[in-house]
Symmetry: C2
Subunit: 330 residues, 2 copies
């Protein structure tokens, strides 16, 4: 199949850039030093490529991601890096033979793990991002509670999400340290093998955690591209120009094909004016005509992929593989 055969909008992954990104990360953080986050690509076939690069533990954000990874035979060591109040479906995944470790940050979520049939947890610690995670000083007590309830506590996790996207590397480096000092303090009370943290923006700076939960590095987006990381933009949305007016053109890639929380996407060689549900209006530096194809680069990979059913892996104009985005939904 060739690119010209694809219906648009269509999600494309450049095979060579993906391979570069996977190899670069596997060299920096080999094997268990990386626990790739599947939320960024929601695709078990892509996760399989990460496994081939040596990473056999994975991070998930939703129950559906855990179920899908286990069903695809990738359930050797899955961490749901998120709290749930009903772990029944996770318990079924465990009963079916996969290993699932669940984040907990309260007595209620510990109870949910027990009731749902999950046997292993990590204590989720707040390291500065106002989101989930227990106060570091309370982490030891929660671990004690979990152990009393019969759970295996594998360690701690603490996501420095307020740091990973900062453009200046020196600022990122400066800010990771106090976050991880909080996590290590919690870990000294909690114990366990795992100190899990980090993301694509801090994968090389966070030397305190013993596993990094990066996900965006595989596909990248224009937001992360500003950070000067050694990963290449591998993801784009192929769109067809459907209308040309004096001063602008319109292609068929809109709000329902793009995560928009980080702002407008980019059209190389053009300037994006705005997006509508099914349109992108842009001014092009060169002449475009109706029927031309353009590549739209999303600002944020995760919510972009979540809109699409399929990833098309391409080499030049050839579609070499078609991967279902099979971890969508909840």
């Amino acid at each position: 199949m060739r690119l010209s055969d694809l219906q648009t909008p269509a999600l494309l992954v450049a095979a060579a850039d993906l391979e570069h990104n996977l190899a670069t990360m596997a060299s920096a953080l080999p094997g268990e030093r990386l626990r790739p986050h599947v939320k960024a690509h929601k695709c078990t076939e892509l996760a399989r490529r990460q496994l081939q690069h040596g990473h056999h533990r994975f991070t998930c954000a939703t129950i559906r991601e855990v179920e899908g990874m286990a069903a695809a035979g990738l359930g050797e060591d899955l961490m749901l890096a998120n709290e749930v109040v009903d772990a029944t479906r996770l318990g079924k995944v465990v009963a079916a033979g996969a290993r699932v470790t669940l984040a907990v940050d309260s007595a209620t979520t510990v109870e949910a793990a027990v009731t749902g049939g999950v046997r292993e947890v990590v204590i989720d610690v707040n390291v500065g991002l106002p989101r989930c995670g227990i106060d570091p000083s309370e982490a030891g007590k929660l671990a004690d509670l979990a152990r009393r309830k019969g759970l295996e506590v594998r360690g701690v996790m603490g996501y420095e999400g307020h740091v990973v996207g900062l453009e200046e590397a020196s600022t990122r480096a400066q800010m990771v340290k106090p976050c991880m000092e909080l996590l290590l303090r919690a870990h000294s009370d909690v114990g366990g093998e795992l100190i899990s943290a980090g993301g694509t923006g801090t994968y090389a700076l966070n030397t305190w955690a013993n596993e990094i939960q990066a996900g965006s590095y595989a596909l990248m987006d224009t937001a992360y591209s500003k950070l000067g990381l050694p990963f290449r933009p591998a993801l784009s949305v192929l769109a067809t120009v459907i209308s040309v007016s004096s001063g602008w053109a319109v292609a068929d890639c809109g709000l329902k094909a793009l995560g928009m929380d980080h702002g407008n996407p980019t059209v190389p060689g053009g300037s994006v004016w705005f997006c509508s549900d099914e349109h992108i209006t842009f001014a092009s530096d060169t002449d475009v005509k109706v029927g031309d194809r353009v590549r739209v680069l999303p600002a944020h990979v995760d919510p972009t992929v979540a809109y699409h059913e399929t990833l098309h892996v391409v080499e030049g104009d050839e579609v070499v593989e078609v991967w279902p985005v099979d971890l969508r939904g909840w």
Copy 2:
């Protein structure tokens, strides 16, 4: 099924508010005066309710929406209010017995209609929004071309998308007029029964078009709620509080459950700080605890619905119907 049985995040539609919205619109614009736009809800069951309220012609934004509406037996008169350069799939829908009218704004898209097997078109006219649509002065010539190629030209469409969302009703009224004067001028050159335009924000002000393409009125969102229209917010995302810290709480409804192009959603009785992929961090005016359920009101209905597989129709705490969001994708 009760609300408490639902996995979250879950898309909810309040049955009474939906019925109010459908009845209010059907009373203002009965029958063929409204051509409901299905892009806002992507749900054939909801379209069926619009049919029961007397509207039997529908507007679509994608080929998949046309296919799905026809397959559901709702293909009496479907307009694809968008340009395509490959109309083959539409031609198949026509061959199977549905009526499909396709928007065209260039010789290339006219040719696509002919080649693809579509028999009826409308001339899409630019009335001020920098998107699709031919210059009004060129509309007649394009209609002539289409007729020479054997197509039936049913009239014109021209979407005043730069006006529908303006908060001041007087500004909207003032701005619709020149847009529709352009459309009527084009129509005088094009001819045909249809003068199709408008949206939820101008449904009552646009008295020039003879059919209005409103879609958002059925479910509404916080952006349209600012306009003081007689439609009620009927859509929300049910979320579960999964973590509570000193000063904020976190629920499981994030960027992958919400269209974010119009900004943050709203949590009644709370103040939203930010959304992450699977989280909403908010400060609540009242005490919340882990396991509580909250309703998140999206800022933009269309790209929100497009993330979900199911609409749950609710009366109080009872889920009375479950409708698949069956028109997603392309």
